[in-house]
């Protein structure tokens, strides 16, 4: 809870909603007849409307990327370290849009929303979405806000996949792409972790095949387990070791199965918090979207061919201790971009924080990311708007 807002914060922000009546045809064959997207904006759209930056969120992310909703907020938005006045995405130059993706559980239409056909909650009947569907819906939000072309589309992890999809699906609408801690497709190991998370949720007796809301239950245990598994993959062995080591909660072993090690306590806490704030069906849907993303598959496995339509410069960033989407996954992308003659720069940031590093402050990460965005601002001749 800040007493005063930090000077490099975007300050107090209010989410907005946009409702769409035009049906959205989905990759899975179904159609959403209408839907709502919740989003936030930071900074000011300039008269030329060419300074907009789209933020794409990761698995458990949402529209609240920067600033505070109220002076009582304990923490700012999830990417506050990189969005704000003078930060890597400088809101004195850029107009930033951050939305909650379709299928989410933070206000945009998702499994917890009402299905207009049945007047019940969608629940598990909510269509499985793909990264391409998200990007399609994001483009419609851009239309609504009068943005023809983004100065940059930026995202980490699953967000980075959306950025890639933008460069291929709407090459003329994206001037620059920033792909952080991402991968052009999940590995078998990644899919395996997702499947364990899904099984944890689906085997919770409170899950009721996804109709938990109608049963008045919440599959908390499943969600908690899913999050605990996921969380391990977001951290590095080193960062966990540095944070917890083998520290015990009490000063002795109890020869039982209650929480003994600090790391157990931490994971349980993370899981508990998540299980009361996130929707199980959304979690299933988001992990499926991750699993399905594989643009090269449509081109016989040739990623360079898949990226052929892209026109914009890319910045690709990975983190040395990220074992979820390890640096070689980013290199795969970079090599394909080079093979396809695209403008690309790549930096591998030495951080001990594993996959989570993309969210955390880091001097070199900031220098690289901020340097790229300054070049974007210079090329577009963006003035300070505030």
């Amino acid at each position: 809870m800040p007493d005063t807002l930090p000077p490099d914060s975007v300050g107090l922000v209010t989410p907005q909603t946009a409702h769409f009546d035009t049906p959205l045809a989905l990759a899975g064959g179904k159609t959403l007849s209408d839907y709502t997207l919740v989003y936030e904006t930071y900074g000011t759209l300039n008269a030329e409307r060419n300074n907009a930056v789209l933020i794409c969120h990761a698995l458990s992310g949402h529209h609240h990327a920067a600033g505070f909703h109220s002076m009582e907020d304990r923490k700012p938005g999830w990417w506050d370290a990189y969005i704000g006045p003078g930060k890597a995405i400088d809101t004195e130059r850029f107009f930033v849009i951050s939305l909650n993706n379709l299928g989410g559980c933070h206000g945009s239409t998702g499994p917890a929303s009402t299905n207009p056909e049945t007047q019940r909650a969608w629940g598990p009947a909510f269509p499985v979405l793909t990264v391409a569907d998200w990007v399609h819906s994001q483009a419609r939000l851009a239309d609504r806000l009068g943005i023809e072309r983004f100065a940059a589309v930026v995202g980490g992890s699953l967000g980075g996949m959306q950025v890639l999809q933008w460069t291929m699906a709407y090459p003329e609408r994206i001037a620059n792409a920033v792909v952080i801690a991402a991968t052009p497709r999940l590995s078998a190991q990644n899919i395996a972790f997702n499947e364990v998370a899904r099984q944890a949720i689906r085997s919770d007796p409170d899950f009721h095949d996804g109709w938990y809301e109608e049963h008045g239950t919440v599959p908390k245990r499943g969600l908690k387990l899913a999050r605990m598994i996921g969380h391990i993959t977001y951290l590095s062995e080193h960062s966990m070791g540095a944070k917890f080591g083998r520290d015990l909660r009490t000063d002795q072993l109890n020869f039982g199965y209650d929480v003994e090690f600090q790391v157990e306590s931490y994971l349980r806490h993370q899981g508990d918090t998540f299980s009361t704030s996130f929707d199980a069906n959304t979690y299933l849907l988001m992990t499926k979207a991750l699993d399905y993303f594989d643009p090269a598959a449509l081109h016989g496995g040739d990623l360079a061919a898949a990226l052929a339509p892209a026109q914009c410069p890319f910045l690709v960033v990975s983190f040395t201790t990220d074992w979820r989407f390890a640096p070689p996954r980013s290199r795969e992308l970079v090599d394909a971009l080079m093979r396809a003659d695209k403008t690309v720069s790549y930096a591998s940031i030495d951080s001990p924080h594993g996959h989570d590093a993309f969210l955390l402050p880091h001097p070199r990460y900031k220098a690289v990311f901020g340097g790229f965005m300054r070049r974007v601002a210079r090329d577009l001749q963006l003035e300070e708007t505030t």
């Binding site: 410069p313 910045l315 290199r331 970079v334 090599d335 080079m338 093979r339 003659d341 403008t343 690309v344 720069s345 790549y346 930096a347 591998s348 070199r364 220098a367 690289v368 340097g371 790229f372 300054r374 070049r375 090329d379």
Partner: protein, 199 residues
Amino acid sequence: MRADLKLIHDWVPQGARVLDLGCGDGELLAALARDKQVVGYGLEIDPDGITACIERGVSVIEQDIDDGLSNVDDDAYDLVIMTQALQALQRPDRTLDEMLRVGRECIIAFPNFAYWRHRLYLGIQGRMPVSKSLPHAWYDTPNIHLSTFRDFGQLCRDKGLTIVDQRVGNGDHEPHWSSRLWPNLCGETAIFRVTRASR
């Protein structure tokens, strides 16, 4: 611009596809893109160099040349440039092979260890040379494979490579009668332009 870069700048053909190994802050690639519509990438491992490249809009890839270029296809580039990096490589000979695999032609610039000032340092003072082109002390130098103008020419001949051009220069790469007559003695830096052996 640094003198060796100026000379290389003149050698690069219009619109060439270039890979610059150890591109530093991207000065050469930026100039080549501006003046000669060159497209290409720099490889670099120095964080400050990488940031400088990104900020000036030069495509730079964080990659250690010592790890090889296995991610680059055969004949992917018209020209592969490497300035002031040869002497810091684990195996300069293997890197040279890799450069000529991925590019038709190479330009390589490096400090000439046989430069007379270096000889004086070693021969008279009996100490490892320290100069403008070799600014480090022996214990902290990244330069682990120092060679001479003549050495490198010999390596090219041993490999059956074609030397298209070879020059030496003082720090400013100005042509001088003495370095033309005795390049191995009077040249502070050496620059070679090499192509693959004719098959």
